[in-house]
Symmetry: D2
Amino acid sequence: MKKVKVGIVGLGRLGRQHAENLAFRIPNCELTAVCSIIEEEAKKAQEEWDVKYAYTNYDEMMKNEELDAVLIASPSGFHCEQIEKALGANLHVFSEKPLGLYLEEAVRVEEAVKKHEDKVFMLGFMRRYDKSYAYAKKKVEKGAIGEPVLIRCYGLDPSKAIGGFMNFAKNNYSGGLFLDMAIHDLDLARWYLNSEAKQVWAIGGAYGYPEIGQLNDAETGAALVKFENGTMGVFVAGRNCSHGYHIETEIIGTEGTLRIGTTPERNMVTVFNETGAVKECSEGFLERFEQAYLSEVEEFINCIREERKPAVTVEDGVLSTALGYACKESFETGELVTVQSPHNVTRSTT
Amino acid sequence: MKKVKVGIVGLGRLGRQHAENLAFRIPNCELTAVCSIIEEEAKKAQEEWDVKYAYTNYDEMMKNEELDAVLIASPSGFHCEQIEKALGANLHVFSEKPLGLYLEEAVRVEEAVKKHEDKVFMLGFMRRYDKSYAYAKKKVEKGAIGEPVLIRCYGLDPSKAIGGFMNFAKNNYSGGLFLDMAIHDLDLARWYLNSEAKQVWAIGGAYGYPEIGQLNDAETGAALVKFENGTMGVFVAGRNCSHGYHIETEIIGTEGTLRIGTTPERNMVTVFNETGAVKECSEGFLERFEQAYLSEVEEFINCIREERKPAVTVEDGVLSTALGYACKESFETGELVTVQSPHNVTRSTT
Amino acid sequence: MKKVKVGIVGLGRLGRQHAENLAFRIPNCELTAVCSIIEEEAKKAQEEWDVKYAYTNYDEMMKNEELDAVLIASPSGFHCEQIEKALGANLHVFSEKPLGLYLEEAVRVEEAVKKHEDKVFMLGFMRRYDKSYAYAKKKVEKGAIGEPVLIRCYGLDPSKAIGGFMNFAKNNYSGGLFLDMAIHDLDLARWYLNSEAKQVWAIGGAYGYPEIGQLNDAETGAALVKFENGTMGVFVAGRNCSHGYHIETEIIGTEGTLRIGTTPERNMVTVFNETGAVKECSEGFLERFEQAYLSEVEEFINCIREERKPAVTVEDGVLSTALGYACKESFETGELVTVQSPHNVTRSTT
Amino acid sequence: MKKVKVGIVGLGRLGRQHAENLAFRIPNCELTAVCSIIEEEAKKAQEEWDVKYAYTNYDEMMKNEELDAVLIASPSGFHCEQIEKALGANLHVFSEKPLGLYLEEAVRVEEAVKKHEDKVFMLGFMRRYDKSYAYAKKKVEKGAIGEPVLIRCYGLDPSKAIGGFMNFAKNNYSGGLFLDMAIHDLDLARWYLNSEAKQVWAIGGAYGYPEIGQLNDAETGAALVKFENGTMGVFVAGRNCSHGYHIETEIIGTEGTLRIGTTPERNMVTVFNETGAVKECSEGFLERFEQAYLSEVEEFINCIREERKPAVTVEDGVLSTALGYACKESFETGELVTVQSPHNVTRSTT
């Protein structure tokens, strides 16, 4: 079969990583087009990776008939529209999370995806493709821990990145801590527990950075979730982790427990000095999930070539977003919130 | 100053450990009397540790005028009454947790303790005297992690002990998972966060042992607590931990994080074999907290000799119990519960 | 610049990994030819990676004028001759370790490499390109541990692989434990200590597998090396590591210590079960050094494109081999051995 | 049986620890006499622990007929003579390591001990009584690692203590690095490997502290030892460990490996901060081996009461010293040294 020709939109840090992977590290695909509203970025990428087409306008890229697929790595606010357009242009679509910033959007995209059943749609829940997370999933499926009972997820961004976040958040709607940061964890919980969320209580505060409180957001927050099958989820999300990018997940089962990333160590080196025995920590998502970002897109390309659907579905995106919104509502109201089926919600608002 | 003469009541596993410590390992005290309703136990202890007096009746021991202090290690249901009698007999009192099985009892004991201000009263929240926990407390006080934001506490009993628990629980009121297992963690949270609980949501289930559900109790449970100063507490308690006795505490602060007991390793040996690199785990509380059980009673004796009060007060017992009852209520009703001041509660019921 | 066209010889496990990397994961190169004396292997590879040319005869491949470079992953006994032929054919050369099975061969290759100064020659000491090892090197260079004093290297093959080794070793000359297994560690020691070996004492035995003793080889061995600058090296090599592939390196300095791979954990998952807290271990070199195998060849390609020389030189191969032979001699004679300069040795035998 | 009455000589840091243990923490014994040439120390101890007799002259203490036993914690140069005198006074003897500073002395003491067969003699190889080391020994005996093949021992004193050592070493004969520091490790190796040393090569240097070199001693050294049963020992000893007191032992067997003290962590707390995930380390021997120092003397008292001999014999002291001297000789001459039986050596010199 011929190579899958991909166009990418969005050339920020993660976008560039995806582009480089498509250009060099993923078999059987070709980075055929790049698109960024910043012309410079697009040109630089075109030269750097010897790309045939460069665009500053997404709609123009959509008209390129050579393309088989598009990878969307633009700012969150554009995902929805760009997904719909790409599907409309008969392209396979890989979109970075989130599906959309609002639940209604997400549900709308879901419908669009379902209408284009012949197209591969994949959402960038890359953690499922991280070797350690995938290994843990297999362990669970093989019964290594009996039945899962409780999942604990830490999703903590490094303190060093908080300045950048504040600048962004003052002018943009990020979705807030639970939607923006915890969304990967909410998806993982659904994946490992094999159940949907039923009730949630979420709390938090702006402990070290009161400015975050002024945005009605939390710097660090915690949510306790009861799932439909009676299992439990504990989520801690934060933007002020002094030791780095701390992504840790634990699945407690009736016959064993798995932990992924107990210490977010950046490599296999231990430094012993006057401080003690030190494991240095990951600085950010690109460092921690380098392999996962590569593997997920590899899977996307393989799905296209082998005419099959990826394990992460659009529904995963919608339901994780629904849970994220329930967390957000609970945090904002202080109340225990019952998670609504997003489909019913939307229907009622129509 | 002369040696502090101590009588002990209760000679179960923990009682015997305390007795042996008093007899041999704690300076400036003498194990002068032992008491157990099981005559055999009392006699055996008397011989083993060369103790002057042995009783099968607590009231008889209370009449012994040689005694300076009593250590109460009897079943939980007796604590309250025995504390009150000991104070009435003008003795210093060390009581194992809990203060009592019911909140009203605990409040009554609190009043008794306050009436006997010249007596040393100490509650067996031994973890505060564990070297690692004490070290972490000092770290927090020195500002090593900035301001505490969230505490996560795991209190998990080994699966191996579940048979014994079931036998006990079928015939006795244990207080339930949150009061019986999590009480130490609730105290630790108050200690590290320097605040009282405000609201709690607790959930749980009987995942591997449905019999526990029939007792209206949880095998594994989780509680999320909001504290008055805006900080957060995450508690996981359980009776079915396959790898052993897992007590782990984490304090996340604005400038750092501390973890105590990340892996509940029983010693400094790592075994490498076909399984991998294995750290064997603690089997139970006597193994994990051997040093703490010794140090807390050492502190009790020192307080008596130096005429000062221990850092753990009767109020700590009452307030931790109140929080435990709020967890229990939340678990039973499924609702978000506001933690009531135990003093108000009692007053209103009087 | 146009893509570097590479031919590969040897399509065993490691050869196939290199071929796949050249075909898909390394920018700016093209896998143009594959060669294996096993026709099937060559054909399969040609189809699998859509390769232009397939050979069963190395000399034929050497005549292909499209090629810019060759990657040699054939059995050790062929390296020398194939390197010389490739240089003679004016190709850049990447060769898997060892340079050759005999010191004289290695010295001869060194001369050939020096004669073709315009060609890039690189030896597969991949560990230097492993992220953790490279990070440790930078740390050392920045003075993080003061001056290096002692290096400890463990190079232990998994017990599971011992059957395969025995079958091979009965019919082939492997070089023996110290040359075959420890060669990477000997190179690392020279690299981190910045000095050449002066004296060595090596011992060992065939503890669990007496058959290895019958081959005059050691199953597990240890060597203590004194370096010219007064620093020390401790090497433990073995073929019978029950927990897997254990590569661990420690550099003790005057002001700190670094450890790389304290536990040879295969991923970030910890399994807690009745056994304890278990870190599963790497099963073999392809698993442990996947990234390094990719990065070293990436560097090879970059060196060709940027007309510069890699940091690993042919001299590194020669001197590490000389030290390996000194270990071997010490193990066989039981004596303390002074490491001879390979250049002098050869000269004297000429 | 009545309490064992013990006199102690030497009230330095370790002496005081032993005295306090005898006074308070060890059942069935009484600290009856203290002795120090520094009158102040003796008086202070007498008051502090309410001791009946205080001496400044060891010979005077030997005349005290109430004593059953003596614990020798005086400077190393006095051990030999004091042991002989105590045995002559018909006392049970516990002596801190080393038996003596010279091999001839050690052999002489051995003879004295053998003449007083009815007396308990015990040497302070406390590590054998450390819970982790004892646990590892049991594991080995149960076959958990098959047959031991190699032991690796690290005995590294903290850099912080180097000033104190230098002051001492300028005016006193310490025995040098291998005898003074490695002696515990040499004993452990003999214990775990169940064999005596046959040949040794030892090297080292004064890397950060050239003054140590001027004393003909090594700051950090390494020794490789071949044992009579073909097993191997790797020893690293040092006085300049920046992260603290690092005592680590590894036993590699044909079917598994044990490590004791991989990281010399001081407690169960992990600190996460800008540096990374930090385990603080033990500062010294009293911190690391607190429990072992207590347990060994407990065993000594129990041996006296139960009329049995401890597992650590005087021969262990002699043979470990002989190995230490072989290391010293190898380090000083640069040669491979065959370990002589100390008994033969002495006989020949008589």
